[in-house]
Symmetry: D2
Amino acid sequence: MSSVAVKEDNALKVSRANCAKNTVVDVKGCSIGGEEIVVIAGPCAIENEEVLKETAFKVRALGATILRGGAFKPRTSPYSFQGLGVKGLEILAKVGESLNMPIITEVMDTEEVSLVADYADVLQIGARNMHNFSLLKKLGQLNKPVVLKRGLAATIEEWLYAAEYILAGGNSQVILCERGIRTAETWTRNTLDLAAVALVKDVSHLPILVDPSHATGVRSLVTPMAKAAISAGADGLMVEVHPEPEKAWSDGEQSLTPNDFNHLINEIKPVVKASGRRLSL
Amino acid sequence: MSSVAVKEDNALKVSRANCAKNTVVDVKGCSIGGEEIVVIAGPCAIENEEVLKETAFKVRALGATILRGGAFKPRTSPYSFQGLGVKGLEILAKVGESLNMPIITEVMDTEEVSLVADYADVLQIGARNMHNFSLLKKLGQLNKPVVLKRGLAATIEEWLYAAEYILAGGNSQVILCERGIRTAETWTRNTLDLAAVALVKDVSHLPILVDPSHATGVRSLVTPMAKAAISAGADGLMVEVHPEPEKAWSDGEQSLTPNDFNHLINEIKPVVKASGRRLSL
Amino acid sequence: MSSVAVKEDNALKVSRANCAKNTVVDVKGCSIGGEEIVVIAGPCAIENEEVLKETAFKVRALGATILRGGAFKPRTSPYSFQGLGVKGLEILAKVGESLNMPIITEVMDTEEVSLVADYADVLQIGARNMHNFSLLKKLGQLNKPVVLKRGLAATIEEWLYAAEYILAGGNSQVILCERGIRTAETWTRNTLDLAAVALVKDVSHLPILVDPSHATGVRSLVTPMAKAAISAGADGLMVEVHPEPEKAWSDGEQSLTPNDFNHLINEIKPVVKASGRRLSL
Amino acid sequence: MSSVAVKEDNALKVSRANCAKNTVVDVKGCSIGGEEIVVIAGPCAIENEEVLKETAFKVRALGATILRGGAFKPRTSPYSFQGLGVKGLEILAKVGESLNMPIITEVMDTEEVSLVADYADVLQIGARNMHNFSLLKKLGQLNKPVVLKRGLAATIEEWLYAAEYILAGGNSQVILCERGIRTAETWTRNTLDLAAVALVKDVSHLPILVDPSHATGVRSLVTPMAKAAISAGADGLMVEVHPEPEKAWSDGEQSLTPNDFNHLINEIKPVVKASGRRLSL
């Protein structure tokens, strides 16, 4: 189907045809998809309570309102660090509560959905699981917000249909997240597709975030792509921050330091304003 | 890592460094990865017992030794036919038994692994789940052969690491299956990567099949690609056959009729011989 | 080579290592690569003097300072309109002069370089010719600005080396132009790679434009991508405008009407300001 | 257009609709596109007379009937060896004549067409120039066979339209050559698309070769891909051979030694026979 056909197909719950008004997802008082631009920040993986606390405290002070951190990590090699699991969830929940920040973390398997949902305020489906239809169906039965990342090589149409799996199950709190697609370009980890952001806002009523960290894999590109994302119409950002990226257990080369994150916030402020929106605080 | 580095890395169970001799997987007396070329055939989805029986009987008579059929179907849209589920598994097992054909079917979720394993002789992980690490780990604990399809846009390295997840869990009966990768070409559904077949045979000791049906999505290309696959060194084929493709509930345009399948078998015979191998019968 | 290696390689004329200060290319008093953001606009192909005049007058009044228009058109089919050739160059030059707008047009062949250079203020190398090394060498001998579009599937590294061909020949007036790369996404004509813009500004001292028209192929995406491009650090835009896009001889579905262009200018103004720059007027 | 539409469009000279019988191109008595499989071999670049002579003598003795060698080389960097130019053409012609082998070499520019045509029996358009429409038009006016390589990221449809440019000009002696397309896979230089070979043979009447050297960039993959290409229906092969690949001035890692080439010929012989064809001798 063409984008126009999807936009006009009122048999699809994701379609704009069903909702002239944008969907706004409420995350414990923090709304995504409305006038405010939300910034989600935190480390790639939860390593221990101290590092997470330090990171969370700093990003919260600088303007992030939701805390991210991975407890179950999808890794190419079975011998790479797979995340702290339940222990990670406990740490994340504790730190989030202490700072009054809602938390988001990835769920990789249908068998872990209820466990992760016990801790997290938002559940994330990673790019590698965008086509995991069993997982999508399970999250459709949940009454919690879901962030659905675009698959490594998924078309926008397939991505919207993946969201449809969740909506069809009865859960309408779906937030899309563009994180780049795989191409032959080698200087960036993926190719960030910002036209997808503008297209999704046109074709669908769902909110959409951009993850400039995974999209580029390069620290110095995170801030310019964050600004570009907001200008393209994104409803928020998801950014990796680590107090000492060179010591991070994963994704260090794309993580910002708290200082870098401070710079990012300062840089996006005028762009947010130019877009007629305001930063969620 | 480069292909040479993976080939020489004896810390990786998939690596050729660990096994000069090719792994041969036994499927109820039918061996995959040895001298014989195996042909797996059957419909995309199991629709009912009659159609499956007719298809199975014909492909068995013509040279297929393993029967394929989908009971749980990964579909882009939640509103497309999702497969008959358990009922489909029962039909598949019954038909396979009646013809003395081992059966292979896809498993999409960790929660269904033991159910599918109760019926199937070989469990298949589809392209959309190649990066579903929870599922890979679960199949690593199984004592049954697994066919692992290459992901939509997965590199060969990522694919071998996905196999490593299964081997690392203790299950060494892994069979790879090349089914094309996604590119900008539009006249075929995917781009069949036969160099991947030759590379895998060099870098790893695992057997590898080719699925020319999904790789091309075009009926007339299935037979030439089957021949090319064997010349490239594939250990077998996985082919969609339906008695009336135009009435198939899914993938009709790439399914062969029994007549087409007869032609395919006749065409590959001299190629199999030219490769110094023989058809499994 | 990595982007860092290219950035630090002072044997490469395009490298940042050779020029801490950004190159600013002067086009008849209109500078590209400095503080000002330049907007280049006009029809895809020059059709006749009336249409071009009308378009040029309107885009000039609204804020475009350089006029674009194709006289030699690279078309997939030999039976499609190939451009008006010399007649087109004459019209373009006449209209440009009457409005005091510098003009840019594509050159497709070494044999036409001196002809095109007689008329044009800036010569454009299209995406399909980015790897036409003979043409690059010829333009290296010219003393005129050159806009070098990124190839359909060119890496950023290859693109910078293509620019190096021109610089190595002695012509340092090179302006890069990102126009999207080819991917498996079908809802857009190409995938606009804005990380390439930020990377190029970091690795090289050359100015860089963005062509949101060809990058997306979709009218409604041109303005959001124009805004995103400026936020990503682009030095200017190249936009297709046609008084009646539905009657355009080529690329109608991605051309803006003068009204759309007015909207684009109004939308980018606050973004330009937020980037600490100003529109060239 | 779909492949079926192109196949049935008799307004296109490349279309099967215009020619039920396959086009057979005669190259000084060596026919391409008929029953015989032709093998074209030689070094990537012509380095000097001795090396070329030695290579040519050996490949001729082993079964190659046409000699390849580059005099004008398309190189990513302007500082890489650009080929010997006219001197290279002279050497190639001399060696070809001494062994009674027709010669093929690349032409990169309209201005060099008549020069190259003075020496070469077949002119080659490289992947980077497939979209160089001026060059295509010029070769359409020639009365010599042309090998047209597929562009780096060209669709099959665009490739056939590029051939149409040559045919439309009056030159019907066009031979296509599949050499892989660019994808995100990193273990091979390109992804060889053998379905394109079968599709082209179906949709068009033009002969088609495969270049397994450039398609893979890996010496050990050249022979298996050569076999697969013939099984897919290719009319011939184009292979890089160098007496000492580790000393080659370009593409050494994908060049075969004469010994490797001997092995390739021995390996393809049974496949050629299995395809009901015979090697050109």
